[in-house]
Protein backbone atom coordinates (compact mmCIF):
# COMPACT_ATOMS: atom_id res chain seq x y z
CA UNK A 1 0.00 0.00 0.00
CA UNK A 2 1.43 3.26 -1.18
CA UNK A 3 0.38 6.46 0.53
CA UNK A 4 -2.63 8.02 -1.21
CA UNK A 5 -1.06 11.44 -1.45
CA UNK A 6 2.02 9.97 -3.10
CA UNK A 7 -0.15 8.29 -5.72
CA UNK A 8 -2.00 11.52 -6.32
CA UNK A 9 1.25 13.41 -6.83
CA UNK A 10 2.36 10.73 -9.24
CA UNK A 11 -0.80 11.15 -11.30
CA UNK A 12 -0.51 14.92 -11.32
CA UNK A 13 3.08 14.60 -12.52
CA UNK A 14 2.08 12.22 -15.29
CA UNK A 15 -0.61 14.54 -16.56
CA UNK A 16 1.54 17.63 -16.42
CA UNK A 17 4.00 15.98 -18.80
CA UNK A 18 1.49 16.24 -21.68
CA UNK A 19 1.55 19.43 -23.61
CA UNK A 20 -1.52 18.92 -25.74
CA UNK A 21 -5.01 17.69 -25.19
CA UNK A 22 -4.77 14.82 -27.67
CA UNK A 23 -1.97 13.18 -25.72
CA UNK A 24 -3.84 13.69 -22.47
CA UNK A 25 -6.94 12.11 -23.94
CA UNK A 26 -4.99 9.22 -25.41
CA UNK A 27 -3.50 8.58 -22.03
CA UNK A 28 -6.97 8.64 -20.45
CA UNK A 29 -8.14 6.14 -23.04
CA UNK A 30 -5.14 3.95 -22.29
CA UNK A 31 -5.91 4.14 -18.59
CA UNK A 32 -9.50 3.26 -19.37
CA UNK A 33 -8.37 0.11 -21.09
CA UNK A 34 -6.29 -0.85 -18.04
CA UNK A 35 -9.18 -0.51 -15.60
CA UNK A 36 -9.43 -3.52 -13.25
CA UNK A 37 -12.69 -4.86 -14.59
CA UNK A 38 -15.57 -5.78 -12.38
CA UNK A 39 -16.68 -9.42 -12.30
CA UNK A 40 -19.68 -9.62 -14.69
CA UNK A 41 -21.84 -11.00 -11.89
CA UNK A 42 -21.47 -7.67 -10.05
CA UNK A 43 -22.42 -5.64 -13.12
CA UNK A 44 -25.94 -5.23 -11.81
CA UNK A 45 -28.26 -2.27 -11.40
CA UNK A 46 -27.53 -2.22 -7.71
CA UNK A 47 -23.93 -1.30 -8.43
CA UNK A 48 -24.80 1.43 -10.95
CA UNK A 49 -23.76 4.92 -9.94
CA UNK A 50 -26.42 7.59 -10.40
CA UNK A 51 -25.58 10.93 -11.93
CA UNK A 52 -23.20 9.75 -14.65
CA UNK A 53 -23.98 10.29 -18.31
CA UNK A 54 -22.67 6.85 -19.18
CA UNK A 55 -23.28 3.75 -17.10
CA UNK A 56 -20.77 3.17 -14.33
CA UNK A 57 -20.72 0.01 -12.23
CA UNK A 58 -18.61 -0.14 -9.10
CA UNK A 59 -17.89 -3.07 -6.79
CA UNK A 60 -15.71 -3.41 -3.72
CA UNK A 61 -14.26 -6.29 -1.76
CA UNK A 62 -12.27 -6.36 1.46
CA UNK A 63 -8.90 -7.98 1.48
CA UNK A 64 -6.79 -7.92 4.61
CA UNK A 65 -8.57 -4.83 5.95
CA UNK A 66 -8.19 -2.98 2.69
CA UNK A 67 -10.81 -2.17 0.09
CA UNK A 68 -10.31 -3.44 -3.45
CA UNK A 69 -12.37 -1.66 -6.09
CA UNK A 70 -13.28 -2.96 -9.52
CA UNK A 71 -15.47 -1.11 -11.99
CA UNK A 72 -16.67 -0.81 -15.54
CA UNK A 73 -18.34 1.68 -17.82
CA UNK A 74 -19.64 1.65 -21.35
CA UNK A 75 -17.66 4.79 -22.20
CA UNK A 76 -13.90 4.58 -22.41
CA UNK A 77 -13.19 8.13 -21.18
CA UNK A 78 -15.32 7.43 -18.15
CA UNK A 79 -13.33 4.27 -17.61
CA UNK A 80 -10.19 6.38 -17.74
CA UNK A 81 -11.55 8.62 -15.03
CA UNK A 82 -12.52 5.66 -12.84
CA UNK A 83 -9.15 4.07 -13.44
CA UNK A 84 -7.52 7.18 -12.01
CA UNK A 85 -9.83 7.16 -9.02
CA UNK A 86 -9.29 3.45 -8.39
CA UNK A 87 -5.55 3.86 -8.60
CA UNK A 88 -5.87 6.32 -5.73
CA UNK A 89 -8.60 4.68 -3.68
CA UNK A 90 -8.17 0.95 -4.17
CA UNK A 91 -6.07 -1.13 -1.86
CA UNK A 92 -6.37 1.41 0.95
CA UNK A 93 -7.88 1.05 4.38
CA UNK A 94 -11.35 2.48 4.98
CA UNK A 95 -10.18 5.31 7.23
CA UNK A 96 -7.75 6.68 4.68
CA UNK A 97 -10.42 6.48 2.00
CA UNK A 98 -12.95 8.30 4.13
CA UNK A 99 -10.54 11.11 4.88
CA UNK A 100 -8.88 11.33 1.48
CA UNK A 101 -8.68 14.76 -0.13
CA UNK A 102 -9.33 14.92 -3.82
CA UNK A 103 -7.83 18.19 -4.96
CA UNK A 104 -5.56 16.30 -7.36
CA UNK A 105 -8.57 16.26 -9.69
CA UNK A 106 -8.38 20.01 -10.07
CA UNK A 107 -4.65 19.81 -10.58
CA UNK A 108 -4.79 17.45 -13.53
CA UNK A 109 -7.24 19.76 -15.27
CA UNK A 110 -9.84 17.05 -15.55
CA UNK A 111 -12.73 19.33 -14.68
CA UNK A 112 -11.92 21.52 -17.66
CA UNK A 113 -12.88 18.63 -19.84
CA UNK A 114 -15.99 17.72 -17.97
CA UNK A 115 -19.42 19.17 -18.46
CA UNK A 116 -21.21 20.10 -15.22
CA UNK A 117 -23.19 16.89 -15.54
CA UNK A 118 -20.04 14.84 -15.86
CA UNK A 119 -18.44 16.76 -13.02
CA UNK A 120 -21.48 15.68 -11.02
CA UNK A 121 -20.81 12.15 -12.18
CA UNK A 122 -17.26 12.41 -10.91
CA UNK A 123 -18.49 13.66 -7.56
CA UNK A 124 -20.97 10.79 -7.44
CA UNK A 125 -18.18 8.32 -8.06
CA UNK A 126 -16.05 9.73 -5.26
CA UNK A 127 -19.05 9.78 -2.94
CA UNK A 128 -19.72 6.16 -3.81
CA UNK A 129 -16.11 5.13 -3.16
CA UNK A 130 -16.27 6.77 0.24
CA UNK A 131 -19.65 5.22 0.98
CA UNK A 132 -18.12 1.78 0.48
CA UNK A 133 -15.47 2.68 3.01
CA UNK A 134 -18.10 3.83 5.51
CA UNK A 135 -20.12 0.66 4.97
CA UNK A 136 -17.12 -1.57 5.36
CA UNK A 137 -16.27 0.10 8.67
CA UNK A 138 -19.79 -0.28 10.01
CA UNK A 139 -19.71 -3.93 9.10
CA UNK A 140 -16.39 -4.62 10.82
CA UNK A 141 -17.40 -2.85 14.04
Amino acid sequence: MTDMLAIQDEIVAEFSSFDNWADRYEYMIELGKSLPLIDPKYKVDNNLIKGCQSNVWLHSETNDGKLIFTADSDAILTKGIIAILIRVFSNQDPDSIMEAKTDFIDKIGLKNHLSPIRANGLLSMIKELKMYAVKSKTRSN
Binding site: Q53, S115, P116, I117, R118
Partner: protein, 404 residues
Amino acid sequence: MLDINTIRKDFPILDQKVNGQKLIYFDNAATSQTPNQVVDSIVDYYKRTNSNIHRGNHKLSIQATTAYEDVRKKLHKYFNSRLPQEIIFTSGTTQSINIITLGYTDLLTSKDEVIVSEMEHHSNIVPVQMLCERTGAKLNVIPMDNQGNLILKEFDKFISEKTKLVFVSHVSNALGTVNPISYIINKSHEVGAKVLIDGAQGASHFEIDFQKLDIDYYTVSAHKMCGPTGTGILYGKEELLNKLSPWHGGGEMIDEVSFEKTTYGELPHKFEPGTPNIAGVIAFGAAIEYMDNIGLDNIQAHEDELLKYCTQELKEIEGLKIYGEAKNKIAVISFNVEGIHHYDLGSLLDQFGVAVRIGHHCAQPVMNYFKIPGTVRISFSFYNTKEEIDLMIKALKRAITMLQ
Protein backbone atom coordinates in the same frame (compact mmCIF):
# COMPACT_ATOMS: atom_id res chain seq x y z
CA MET B 1 -25.63 57.76 -0.07
CA LEU B 2 -26.25 57.10 -3.72
CA ASP B 3 -24.58 59.02 -6.47
CA ILE B 4 -27.67 59.21 -8.62
CA ASN B 5 -26.03 61.06 -11.46
CA THR B 6 -23.50 58.31 -11.93
CA ILE B 7 -26.14 55.63 -11.56
CA ARG B 8 -28.37 57.24 -14.16
CA LYS B 9 -25.61 56.92 -16.74
CA ASP B 10 -26.26 53.19 -16.62
CA PHE B 11 -29.85 53.80 -17.77
CA PRO B 12 -29.80 55.52 -21.17
CA ILE B 13 -33.57 55.01 -21.45
CA LEU B 14 -34.08 57.61 -18.71
CA ASP B 15 -32.24 60.18 -20.73
CA GLN B 16 -34.78 60.72 -23.48
CA LYS B 17 -37.67 62.94 -24.41
CA VAL B 18 -41.22 61.78 -24.86
CA ASN B 19 -43.85 64.03 -26.35
CA GLY B 20 -41.13 66.66 -26.56
CA GLN B 21 -40.66 66.61 -22.79
CA LYS B 22 -37.99 65.12 -20.57
CA LEU B 23 -39.07 61.63 -19.61
CA ILE B 24 -39.89 61.12 -15.95
CA TYR B 25 -40.30 57.42 -15.38
CA PHE B 26 -42.49 56.83 -12.34
CA ASP B 27 -43.88 53.45 -13.39
CA ASN B 28 -41.29 51.30 -11.67
CA ALA B 29 -43.72 49.01 -9.89
CA ALA B 30 -44.93 47.84 -13.31
CA THR B 31 -41.42 47.26 -14.57
CA SER B 32 -38.06 48.67 -13.56
CA GLN B 33 -35.51 49.91 -16.04
CA THR B 34 -32.56 47.80 -17.12
CA PRO B 35 -28.99 49.06 -16.66
CA ASN B 36 -26.38 48.73 -19.41
CA GLN B 37 -24.58 46.04 -17.43
CA VAL B 38 -27.63 43.78 -17.67
CA VAL B 39 -28.18 44.50 -21.36
CA ASP B 40 -24.50 43.85 -22.02
CA SER B 41 -24.73 40.45 -20.39
CA ILE B 42 -27.48 39.52 -22.84
CA VAL B 43 -25.44 40.70 -25.82
CA ASP B 44 -22.41 38.87 -24.53
CA TYR B 45 -24.41 35.69 -24.10
CA TYR B 46 -25.74 35.72 -27.66
CA LYS B 47 -22.44 36.72 -29.23
CA ARG B 48 -20.25 34.25 -27.36
CA THR B 49 -22.05 31.53 -25.46
CA ASN B 50 -25.55 30.89 -26.78
CA SER B 51 -26.31 27.19 -26.57
CA ASN B 52 -28.85 24.88 -25.03
CA ILE B 53 -28.04 23.78 -21.52
CA HIS B 54 -27.89 20.73 -19.27
CA ARG B 55 -27.85 17.90 -21.77
CA GLY B 56 -24.98 19.38 -23.76
CA ASN B 57 -21.51 18.05 -23.86
CA HIS B 58 -19.68 20.64 -25.91
CA LYS B 59 -17.86 23.77 -24.84
CA LEU B 60 -20.58 26.35 -25.52
CA SER B 61 -23.18 24.20 -23.86
CA ILE B 62 -20.94 23.67 -20.86
CA GLN B 63 -20.30 27.40 -20.58
CA ALA B 64 -24.00 28.22 -20.90
CA THR B 65 -24.93 25.59 -18.33
CA THR B 66 -22.30 26.83 -15.91
CA ALA B 67 -23.38 30.44 -16.32
CA TYR B 68 -27.04 29.48 -15.82
CA GLU B 69 -26.33 27.36 -12.75
CA ASP B 70 -24.06 30.05 -11.34
CA VAL B 71 -27.03 32.41 -11.27
CA ARG B 72 -28.96 29.82 -9.30
CA LYS B 73 -26.11 29.71 -6.78
CA LYS B 74 -25.95 33.49 -6.73
CA LEU B 75 -29.67 33.78 -5.96
CA HIS B 76 -29.37 31.04 -3.38
CA LYS B 77 -26.74 33.13 -1.60
CA TYR B 78 -28.46 36.45 -2.19
CA PHE B 79 -31.73 35.28 -0.66
CA ASN B 80 -30.05 32.83 1.71
CA SER B 81 -31.95 29.71 0.80
CA ARG B 82 -30.69 26.52 2.41
CA LEU B 83 -29.90 24.86 -0.93
CA PRO B 84 -29.33 26.10 -4.49
CA GLN B 85 -31.92 23.69 -5.87
CA GLU B 86 -34.61 25.43 -3.81
CA ILE B 87 -34.37 28.20 -6.41
CA ILE B 88 -36.57 27.29 -9.39
CA PHE B 89 -36.36 29.43 -12.50
CA THR B 90 -39.73 30.36 -13.94
CA SER B 91 -40.98 32.94 -16.42
CA GLY B 92 -41.94 35.24 -13.53
CA THR B 93 -44.05 35.63 -10.41
CA THR B 94 -47.29 34.68 -12.13
CA GLN B 95 -45.88 31.38 -13.35
CA SER B 96 -44.27 30.75 -9.96
CA ILE B 97 -47.58 31.10 -8.16
CA ASN B 98 -49.32 28.86 -10.67
CA ILE B 99 -46.74 26.11 -10.16
CA ILE B 100 -47.68 26.09 -6.48
CA THR B 101 -51.44 26.30 -6.93
CA LEU B 102 -51.37 23.55 -9.56
CA GLY B 103 -49.12 21.43 -7.37
CA TYR B 104 -51.52 21.63 -4.43
CA THR B 105 -54.42 20.30 -6.46
CA ASP B 106 -53.73 16.78 -5.20
CA LEU B 107 -53.06 17.90 -1.65
CA LEU B 108 -56.26 19.79 -0.81
CA THR B 109 -59.79 18.61 -0.26
CA SER B 110 -63.09 20.31 0.41
CA LYS B 111 -62.36 20.05 4.13
CA ASP B 112 -59.34 22.32 3.80
CA GLU B 113 -59.12 26.08 3.88
CA VAL B 114 -56.96 28.59 2.10
CA ILE B 115 -56.35 32.21 3.07
CA VAL B 116 -55.65 35.10 0.76
CA SER B 117 -55.66 38.83 1.39
CA GLU B 118 -57.93 41.47 -0.05
CA MET B 119 -54.88 43.43 -1.12
CA GLU B 120 -53.43 40.93 -3.56
CA HIS B 121 -52.48 41.34 -7.18
CA HIS B 122 -54.69 39.29 -9.53
CA SER B 123 -51.73 36.96 -10.02
CA ASN B 124 -52.03 36.04 -6.36
CA ILE B 125 -55.82 35.76 -6.45
CA VAL B 126 -56.92 34.09 -9.66
CA PRO B 127 -54.67 30.99 -9.39
CA VAL B 128 -55.81 30.62 -5.78
CA GLN B 129 -59.45 30.87 -6.78
CA MET B 130 -58.84 28.25 -9.47
CA LEU B 131 -57.19 25.96 -6.90
CA CYS B 132 -60.15 26.32 -4.55
CA GLU B 133 -62.57 25.65 -7.36
CA ARG B 134 -60.69 22.50 -8.37
CA THR B 135 -60.44 21.12 -4.86
CA GLY B 136 -63.50 22.54 -3.12
CA ALA B 137 -61.28 24.11 -0.46
CA LYS B 138 -62.78 27.17 1.21
CA LEU B 139 -61.22 30.56 0.48
CA ASN B 140 -61.01 33.07 3.32
CA VAL B 141 -60.10 36.65 2.56
CA ILE B 142 -58.19 38.81 5.06
CA PRO B 143 -59.84 42.24 4.85
CA MET B 144 -57.99 45.53 5.09
CA ASP B 145 -58.68 48.84 6.77
CA ASN B 146 -58.93 52.20 5.07
CA GLN B 147 -55.25 52.94 5.64
CA GLY B 148 -54.39 49.89 3.59
CA ASN B 149 -53.36 47.64 6.46
CA LEU B 150 -54.39 44.03 6.67
CA ILE B 151 -56.70 43.51 9.64
CA LEU B 152 -54.71 40.94 11.51
CA LYS B 153 -57.34 40.05 14.02
CA GLU B 154 -59.51 38.89 11.14
CA PHE B 155 -56.60 36.78 9.94
CA ASP B 156 -56.29 35.36 13.45
CA LYS B 157 -59.92 34.29 13.27
CA PHE B 158 -59.46 32.48 9.98
CA ILE B 159 -56.30 30.63 10.85
CA SER B 160 -57.02 27.14 12.15
CA GLU B 161 -55.99 23.54 11.78
CA LYS B 162 -58.05 23.51 8.61
CA THR B 163 -55.86 26.15 6.98
CA LYS B 164 -53.42 24.56 4.59
CA LEU B 165 -52.13 27.52 2.60
CA VAL B 166 -51.88 31.28 2.98
CA PHE B 167 -51.15 33.65 0.07
CA VAL B 168 -49.97 37.14 0.94
CA SER B 169 -47.89 39.72 -0.87
CA HIS B 170 -44.76 41.08 0.69
CA VAL B 171 -45.66 44.54 -0.61
CA SER B 172 -48.93 45.65 -2.18
CA ASN B 173 -48.37 46.95 -5.70
CA ALA B 174 -51.50 49.10 -5.50
CA LEU B 175 -50.98 50.69 -2.08
CA GLY B 176 -47.33 50.23 -1.18
CA THR B 177 -48.19 48.55 2.13
CA VAL B 178 -45.46 46.32 3.51
CA ASN B 179 -47.31 43.41 5.04
CA PRO B 180 -46.38 41.84 8.40
CA ILE B 181 -45.20 38.62 6.80
CA SER B 182 -43.30 37.40 9.87
CA TYR B 183 -46.45 37.53 11.95
CA ILE B 184 -48.44 35.75 9.25
CA ILE B 185 -45.79 33.10 8.75
CA ASN B 186 -45.42 32.36 12.44
CA LYS B 187 -49.15 32.17 13.07
CA SER B 188 -49.58 29.94 10.04
CA HIS B 189 -46.79 27.61 11.03
CA GLU B 190 -48.37 27.17 14.45
CA VAL B 191 -51.25 25.37 12.78
CA GLY B 192 -49.10 23.69 10.15
CA ALA B 193 -50.20 25.91 7.26
CA LYS B 194 -47.70 26.89 4.58
CA VAL B 195 -47.33 30.45 3.34
CA LEU B 196 -46.60 31.75 -0.12
CA ILE B 197 -45.21 35.27 -0.14
CA ASP B 198 -45.73 37.07 -3.44
CA GLY B 199 -42.48 38.98 -3.56
CA ALA B 200 -42.94 40.70 -6.92
CA GLN B 201 -42.77 44.08 -5.17
CA GLY B 202 -40.58 43.00 -2.29
CA ALA B 203 -37.26 41.81 -3.63
CA SER B 204 -36.57 45.04 -5.50
CA HIS B 205 -36.70 47.18 -2.39
CA PHE B 206 -35.17 45.43 0.57
CA GLU B 207 -33.05 42.54 1.72
CA ILE B 208 -34.80 39.25 2.23
CA ASP B 209 -33.48 36.25 4.08
CA PHE B 210 -35.53 33.18 3.23
CA GLN B 211 -34.20 31.08 6.09
CA LYS B 212 -34.33 33.77 8.73
CA LEU B 213 -37.94 34.59 7.87
CA ASP B 214 -38.69 30.85 7.69
CA ILE B 215 -40.36 31.39 4.35
CA ASP B 216 -42.08 28.40 2.72
CA TYR B 217 -42.56 29.81 -0.79
CA TYR B 218 -41.45 33.11 -2.27
CA THR B 219 -41.85 34.44 -5.81
CA VAL B 220 -39.84 37.03 -7.70
CA SER B 221 -40.03 38.66 -11.14
CA ALA B 222 -36.67 39.71 -12.58
CA HIS B 223 -38.15 42.54 -14.63
CA LYS B 224 -39.13 44.35 -11.46
CA MET B 225 -35.59 44.38 -10.11
CA CYS B 226 -33.48 45.68 -12.99
CA GLY B 227 -33.53 42.32 -14.73
CA PRO B 228 -34.95 41.26 -18.08
CA THR B 229 -38.52 40.34 -18.95
CA GLY B 230 -39.56 36.69 -19.04
CA THR B 231 -37.82 35.28 -16.02
CA GLY B 232 -38.10 35.06 -12.27
CA ILE B 233 -37.97 32.52 -9.52
CA LEU B 234 -40.03 30.33 -7.33
CA TYR B 235 -38.36 29.61 -4.04
CA GLY B 236 -39.62 26.72 -1.97
CA LYS B 237 -38.25 24.74 0.93
CA GLU B 238 -36.75 21.52 -0.33
CA GLU B 239 -39.00 19.22 1.69
CA LEU B 240 -42.09 21.06 0.48
CA LEU B 241 -41.11 21.13 -3.19
CA ASN B 242 -40.22 17.45 -2.99
CA LYS B 243 -43.78 16.65 -1.95
CA LEU B 244 -45.31 18.74 -4.71
CA SER B 245 -46.21 17.13 -8.04
CA PRO B 246 -45.12 18.89 -11.22
CA TRP B 247 -48.04 19.81 -13.45
CA HIS B 248 -45.89 20.81 -16.39
CA GLY B 249 -44.18 18.03 -18.28
CA GLY B 250 -41.40 18.15 -20.81
CA GLY B 251 -37.75 17.73 -21.55
CA GLU B 252 -35.15 18.17 -18.79
CA MET B 253 -37.60 17.63 -15.94
CA ILE B 254 -37.64 13.84 -16.16
CA ASP B 255 -35.47 11.06 -14.96
CA GLU B 256 -36.67 8.45 -17.43
CA VAL B 257 -39.44 8.40 -19.99
CA SER B 258 -41.16 5.41 -21.44
CA PHE B 259 -44.74 4.74 -22.37
CA GLU B 260 -44.96 2.29 -19.50
CA LYS B 261 -43.56 4.53 -16.83
CA THR B 262 -42.13 8.02 -16.60
CA THR B 263 -40.23 9.16 -13.53
CA TYR B 264 -39.51 12.76 -12.68
CA GLY B 265 -36.11 14.21 -12.01
CA GLU B 266 -34.94 15.84 -8.81
CA LEU B 267 -35.07 19.49 -7.80
CA PRO B 268 -34.72 21.93 -9.42
CA HIS B 269 -35.26 20.13 -12.74
CA LYS B 270 -38.64 18.70 -11.75
CA PHE B 271 -40.14 22.17 -12.09
CA GLU B 272 -38.12 23.42 -15.04
CA PRO B 273 -39.43 21.57 -18.10
CA GLY B 274 -38.27 22.63 -21.54
CA THR B 275 -35.61 25.05 -22.63
CA PRO B 276 -35.61 27.89 -20.11
CA ASN B 277 -35.00 31.58 -20.72
CA ILE B 278 -31.24 31.05 -20.64
CA ALA B 279 -30.21 34.56 -21.69
CA GLY B 280 -32.81 35.96 -19.29
CA VAL B 281 -31.54 33.99 -16.32
CA ILE B 282 -27.96 35.02 -17.02
CA ALA B 283 -29.05 38.66 -17.27
CA PHE B 284 -31.01 38.22 -14.04
CA GLY B 285 -27.69 37.29 -12.44
CA ALA B 286 -26.18 40.52 -13.75
CA ALA B 287 -29.12 42.47 -12.32
CA ILE B 288 -28.67 40.93 -8.87
CA GLU B 289 -25.02 41.83 -9.00
CA TYR B 290 -25.87 45.37 -10.05
CA MET B 291 -28.35 45.89 -7.22
CA ASP B 292 -26.04 44.26 -4.72
CA ASN B 293 -23.28 46.66 -5.71
CA ILE B 294 -25.50 49.64 -5.10
CA GLY B 295 -26.63 48.13 -1.86
CA LEU B 296 -30.18 47.50 -0.76
CA ASP B 297 -29.72 49.65 2.33
CA ASN B 298 -28.83 52.61 0.17
CA ILE B 299 -31.70 51.86 -2.16
CA GLN B 300 -34.20 51.69 0.65
CA ALA B 301 -32.99 54.90 2.30
CA HIS B 302 -33.18 56.83 -0.96
CA GLU B 303 -36.57 55.47 -1.94
CA ASP B 304 -37.93 56.27 1.52
CA GLU B 305 -36.82 59.83 1.14
CA LEU B 306 -38.52 60.11 -2.22
CA LEU B 307 -41.68 58.59 -0.80
CA LYS B 308 -41.82 61.01 2.12
CA TYR B 309 -41.05 64.03 -0.01
CA CYS B 310 -43.54 63.19 -2.71
CA THR B 311 -46.28 62.31 -0.25
CA GLN B 312 -45.84 65.67 1.45
CA GLU B 313 -45.95 67.56 -1.84
CA LEU B 314 -49.02 65.69 -3.04
CA LYS B 315 -50.89 66.33 0.18
CA GLU B 316 -50.74 70.03 -0.46
CA ILE B 317 -52.82 69.65 -3.60
CA GLU B 318 -56.46 70.36 -2.93
CA GLY B 319 -58.84 67.50 -3.49
CA LEU B 320 -56.06 64.96 -3.82
CA LYS B 321 -56.61 61.75 -1.91
CA ILE B 322 -53.91 59.15 -1.35
CA TYR B 323 -54.97 55.50 -1.12
CA GLY B 324 -52.73 53.51 1.16
CA GLU B 325 -51.26 55.23 4.16
CA ALA B 326 -49.89 52.33 6.09
CA LYS B 327 -47.07 53.19 8.47
CA ASN B 328 -44.90 50.55 6.91
CA LYS B 329 -45.03 51.45 3.25
CA ILE B 330 -42.65 51.84 0.33
CA ALA B 331 -42.08 53.51 -2.99
CA VAL B 332 -45.69 53.46 -4.26
CA ILE B 333 -48.29 56.23 -4.11
CA SER B 334 -51.80 55.69 -5.44
CA PHE B 335 -54.09 58.71 -5.62
CA ASN B 336 -57.04 60.42 -7.22
CA VAL B 337 -58.08 64.04 -7.51
CA GLU B 338 -61.65 64.90 -6.70
CA GLY B 339 -63.86 65.30 -9.73
CA ILE B 340 -61.20 64.09 -12.15
CA HIS B 341 -61.00 60.66 -13.70
CA HIS B 342 -57.64 58.87 -13.26
CA TYR B 343 -57.62 58.24 -16.96
CA ASP B 344 -57.70 61.95 -17.81
CA LEU B 345 -54.99 62.71 -15.29
CA GLY B 346 -52.74 59.94 -16.58
CA SER B 347 -53.20 61.04 -20.17
CA LEU B 348 -52.22 64.60 -19.41
CA LEU B 349 -49.27 63.58 -17.26
CA ASP B 350 -48.08 61.50 -20.18
CA GLN B 351 -48.23 64.57 -22.38
CA PHE B 352 -46.00 66.27 -19.83
CA GLY B 353 -43.52 63.40 -20.12
CA VAL B 354 -44.46 61.81 -16.82
CA ALA B 355 -44.97 58.05 -17.04
CA VAL B 356 -47.36 56.85 -14.35
CA ARG B 357 -49.71 53.91 -14.28
CA ILE B 358 -53.46 54.39 -14.15
CA GLY B 359 -56.28 51.94 -13.62
CA HIS B 360 -56.94 49.12 -11.20
CA HIS B 361 -53.30 47.91 -11.15
CA CYS B 362 -54.47 44.30 -11.36
CA ALA B 363 -55.90 44.69 -7.86
CA GLN B 364 -59.62 45.13 -8.44
CA PRO B 365 -60.57 44.04 -4.91
CA VAL B 366 -58.60 47.01 -3.59
CA MET B 367 -60.48 49.31 -5.96
CA ASN B 368 -63.77 47.72 -4.90
CA TYR B 369 -62.87 48.35 -1.28
CA PHE B 370 -62.43 52.04 -1.96
CA LYS B 371 -65.37 52.02 -4.41
CA ILE B 372 -63.31 53.57 -7.17
CA PRO B 373 -62.61 52.38 -10.70
CA GLY B 374 -58.91 53.08 -10.41
CA THR B 375 -56.13 55.40 -9.32
CA VAL B 376 -53.11 57.19 -10.63
CA ARG B 377 -50.07 55.35 -9.34
CA ILE B 378 -46.59 56.79 -8.95
CA SER B 379 -43.84 54.34 -8.09
CA PHE B 380 -40.16 55.01 -7.49
CA SER B 381 -36.91 53.30 -8.04
CA PHE B 382 -33.45 54.17 -6.74
CA TYR B 383 -32.58 56.11 -9.90
CA ASN B 384 -35.40 58.60 -9.41
CA THR B 385 -34.76 62.05 -7.95
CA LYS B 386 -36.45 64.85 -6.01
CA GLU B 387 -36.08 67.06 -9.08
CA GLU B 388 -38.21 64.60 -10.99
CA ILE B 389 -40.81 64.77 -8.24
CA ASP B 390 -40.81 68.57 -8.49
CA LEU B 391 -41.36 68.41 -12.24
CA MET B 392 -44.10 65.86 -11.79
CA ILE B 393 -45.88 67.99 -9.19
CA LYS B 394 -45.75 70.95 -11.52
CA ALA B 395 -47.17 68.89 -14.37
CA LEU B 396 -49.83 67.46 -12.13
CA LYS B 397 -50.96 70.91 -11.03
CA ARG B 398 -51.21 72.10 -14.63
CA ALA B 399 -53.14 68.97 -15.59
CA ILE B 400 -55.59 69.51 -12.76
CA THR B 401 -56.13 73.09 -13.83
CA MET B 402 -56.78 72.01 -17.40
CA LEU B 403 -59.24 69.35 -16.34
CA GLN B 404 -61.23 71.28 -13.76
